[in-house]
């Protein structure tokens, strides 16, 4: 068992099955689908209220999703911790800025990687709230519930993702 936990990589089927089982716990014990993007909008609202005061709470969107620490924000904190534990005990934890594939095919300049990541993040945050979910909220939780909106959204994520990646990497 300990050896399994210390392995750097699991079969994708074992990792996937583990996530599927976590979805059961999430519905059963917390009455929540596994999803990550709502938490980002709550954290964004919290940062905004530090910068510009409590009036942020009057924004229509933050009335729907109040900017406070809840189950979903803690889920994100947990993901950071879980991934740290996993990489640390298997000895693969290391600091890096530019991923290998990016460095090899696009640029070895930190500023260029930063601009790609920031622009991509902005579009992704916008699109995730726009379509009411992300790869986990729609891709795993939504599809598991046989949600039509999620099926359409997942197709959209991958169609636009494959198209954009193919263009970027062929330039």
């Amino acid at each position: 068992m300990i050896e399994l936990l210390m392995e750097p990589r699991w079969s994708p089927y074992i990792a996937g099955a583990g996530i599927g089982i976590l979805l059961w716990f999430s519905f059963l014990f917390s009455n929540k689908p596994l999803g990550c993007s709502t938490a980002f909008s709550r954290i964004s609202g919290m940062i905004e209220s530090i910068l510009s005061g409590e009036k942020v709470r009057n924004k229509e969107y933050f009335k729907l999703f109040p900017p406070e620490v809840d189950w979903q924000v803690m889920l994100i904190v947990g993901i950071v911790c879980g991934s740290f534990i996993s990489s640390f005990i298997s000895g693969t934890f290391h600091f890096s800025f530019i991923p290998d594939t990016f460095e090899l095919n696009i640029s070895d300049n930190i500023l260029i990687r930063f601009i790609f990541a920031l622009t991509g993040g902005i579009l992704m945050g916008l699109g995730a709230r726009w379509s009411r979910g992300c790869t986990s909220g729609h891709g795993i939780s939504g599809l598991s519930q046989l949600s039509l909106a999620s099926l359409v959204a997942v197709m959209g994520f991958f169609i636009a993702g494959i198209f954009t990646a193919t263009i970027i990497f062929s330039l």
Binding site: P12, Y13, A15, G16, I19, G20, L22, F27, L28, S30, K32, P33, C36, S37, F40, S44, K59, Y61, W71, M74, G78, I79, V80, C81, G82, I85, S86, S87, T92, F93, F95, T101, A117, T119, G120, G121, I122, L123, M124, G125, L126, G127, W130, S131, C134, T135, S144, Q145, L146, S147, L148, A149, V152, A153, M155, F157, F158, A160, T164, A165
Partner: protein
């Protein structure tokens, strides 16, 4: 089931943390917290992301539908629309390819020491969700309700019993994963 537990907010925050730790652990072990794995999926040269997601859906779906049939849990679905589901997901997809992480795996990437995920990705997602929150009243009234879908779920759309669709969906995903394996993808 567990209604009292659901209303205990402090315990719920701890449960969120615990489930998140498990989720981050599995994502990292599956290799999907790495930019290389995700970008190779989008370039269709490595199918790890689809394998992880497909298995998670098969296992998750069968379990939660069983618990729903037993009356233990409630589902949380909303009706989509062209304005929300299609436009939003296409914007997301472009960002997905530029960033190379999604909102869950960006957190996992930070955990394994990836600094572009922290200073670029997570900051960008926070800015993006902030922009959406700011323009939400206009986007909501003008775009999100364009062509609302006629059904909330796939079984409602194709008029088949829920369990038949669960079985068909599981078989289709399993068939696709088997196809990937037999073609060494």
């Amino acid at each position: 089931m567990f209604e009292r537990l659901h209303s205990q907010l402090t315990i719920q925050k701890m449960l969120g943390l615990l489930i998140g730790i498990g989720f981050g652990f599995c994502l990292q072990k599956g290799g999907v917290t790495s930019y290389d794995t995700i970008i190779h999926q989008l370039l269709l040269t490595d199918f790890t992301v689809i394998k992880v997601m497909g298995t998670a859906v098969i296992v998750g779906m069968i379990g939660i539908h069983l618990m729903k049939s037993l009356g233990w849990i409630h589902f949380h679905t909303t009706t989509g629309s062209v304005g929300s589901s299609i436009i939003g997901s296409l914007i997301f997809g472009v960002g997905f390819a530029l960033l190379g992480y999604c909102p869950g795996t960006v957190a996992g990437a930070i955990g394994q020491g990836q600094l572009d995920a922290l200073v670029g990705g997570a900051v960008g997602i926070l800015i993006g969700t902030g922009i959406f929150a700011h323009f939400y009243p206009a986007i909501n009234s003008k775009i999100l309700s364009i062509k609302i879908f006629s059904a909330e779920t796939i079984p409602e759309l194709i008029h088949l019993p829920r369990w038949i669709v669960v079985i068909l969906m599981a078989l289709m995903i399993a068939g696709f994963l088997l196809f990937l394996e037999t073609n060494s993808l």
